[in-house]
């Protein structure tokens, strides 16, 4: 990310965010944090092509995050730019869902998350294209085709691993089981959306079409849809899992150690 050092005066308080700012920030943080997680796979994926694939998917998400963060900063109106929002907020100010911050774990776990999350983004952006907010509609119109490609990629892996060898099946199922406690939060009611009729997308309305897609893929892959015993929640209110602090420490360290540095 580039840009001038921020002129933010430090007085903005996330508790006073306007509904539209909070909504845009939530979507932005989802994309930013997942992008960071995918970047961690570079040079560690099972094959070189997959390093490139996950990096490309992360890059698409980072692009979406940059547009959304910039817009959130404009809406907020206190002079914060994309860099201020990405690098100078603390954990409680991040509004992302917990699923995107969970550690990558095994490749099966990462692919399980990619399937669940990209399938959600397909439903989200498909509807957000019709938003009354022209900026959100433009971001969604662009991202829509990208996330469809991400979903395709995850689907191919889930089929290949689930309906593969005994070992690949076991690890793909384990990946689903590990990430599924964080899936329900995606579709929890998000109160801010009630104040944004025609602008935002109600996540509770996306669950049915998402489930239909997921069920079809998992059935074909001979996998079982997990039934988790707990339900992580709170990300949209700034409540995160232990993994989030470590993620932010890595993501923000350089920017905070060298404020305003450019190259």
């Amino acid at each position: 990310m580039s840009g001038e050092p921020g002129t933010w005066d430090g007085r903005a308080d996330s508790a006073t965010l306007e509904p539209r700012t909070e909504y845009v920030l939530g979507l932005a943080d989802d994309a930013l944090v997942l992008s960071h997680r995918l970047g961690e796979w570079i040079a560690s994926a099972p094959q070189l092509e997959e390093d490139v694939a996950l990096a490309n998917i992360g890059l698409d998400l980072l692009g979406q995050a940059r547009s959304l963060l910039t817009y959130a900063g404009e809406l907020e109106g206190v002079g914060r730019d994309e860099d201020d929002l990405a690098y100078l907020r603390d954990e409680r100010d991040f509004r992302n869902l917990q699923i995107v911050e969970r550690p990558n774990g095994d490749f099966g776990s990462t692919i399980a998350r990619q399937l669940a999350f990209s399938a959600y983004q397909v439903e989200l952006y498909g509807r957000l294209r019709a938003s009354d907010d022209p900026t959100l509609a433009a971001v969604a119109g662009k991202a829509n085709k990208e996330v469809a490609y991400h979903r395709d990629h995850a689907t191919q892996w889930v089929l290949r691993l689930g309906d593969g060898t005994e070992e690949s099946h076991r690890r793909m199922q384990a990946g689903l089981d590990e990430i599924w406690p964080y899936v329900a939060e995606i579709f929890d009611p998000w109160p801010v959306v009630d104040k944004l009729v025609g602008v935002g997308v109600d996540p509770t309305a996306l669950r049915d079409s998402w489930s239909k897609y997921l069920s079809a893929v998992l059935t074909e892959a001979t996998l079982t849809m997990p039934e988790p015993t707990f339900h992580g929640r709170g990300g949209r209110r700034g409540l995160h899992t232990e993994a989030m602090g470590y993620l932010l420490a890595e993501m923000q360290h350089l920017h905070r150690a060298h404020p305003g540095a450019t190259w």
């Binding site: 490139v52 890059l59 698409d60 998400l61 692009g63 662009k142 990208e146």
Partner: protein
């Protein structure tokens, strides 16, 4: 007021800027250059659009456009990024497709109009007997292929 020929002239100047990641093709032929206007204050406004949301070439293109304009005497200029309407590979011109092919990159099929899987023709030997090695390639807009006839690997600009 600036005359219409002036806009055509400025667009021609901006249109010669090459894409930094596909330098055999100009931003005009790639469809990334969306609009060139001259305001009543003589300020040149150029609109560009990214191929993909995260396309890292946009900052370079912005700088290259401003530098090219300055070389031609247009010092007062501004480059704006627009997202809508979203870029599609259908905006790549015929000249652009030919240039890609000539340089060993298979151009895209028409986007979203065919449901059957079309084979990608090898840009090196012309054989249709090719296979996708990876759905993602060296840049966001490409996938990696290999030819079963001449055995050479090649890039393909994905239909979007």
């Amino acid at each position: 007021m600036v005359s219409a020929p002036a806009v055509v002239e400025v667009r021609a100047v901006v249109g010669t800027v090459p894409d930094p990641e596909l330098p055999m093709i100009t931003i005009e032929d790639l469809g990334v250059l969306r609009d060139v206007r001259i305001g009543s204050d003589d300020r040149v406004v150029v609109e560009i659009t990214p191929t993909y949301s995260g396309c890292p070439a946009m900052d370079v293109i912005r700088g290259d456009v401003l530098a090219r304009l300055a070389e031609c005497g247009y010092e007062d200029a501004e480059v704006r990024l627009v997202l809508a309407p979203a870029w599609t590979t259908d905006w790549i011109s015929d000249a652009g497709r030919a240039a890609l092919s000539e340089h060993g990159i298979a151009p895209p099929h028409p986007a979203g109009r065919v449901s059957l899987k079309l084979s990608v023709r090898c840009p090196l030997c012309g054989s249709p007997d090719t296979r996708e090695v990876s759905r993602f390639g060296s840049t966001a807009c490409k996938s990696l292929w290999t030819c079963r006839s001449c055995l050479e690997p090649f890039d393909h600009v994905k239909a979007l």
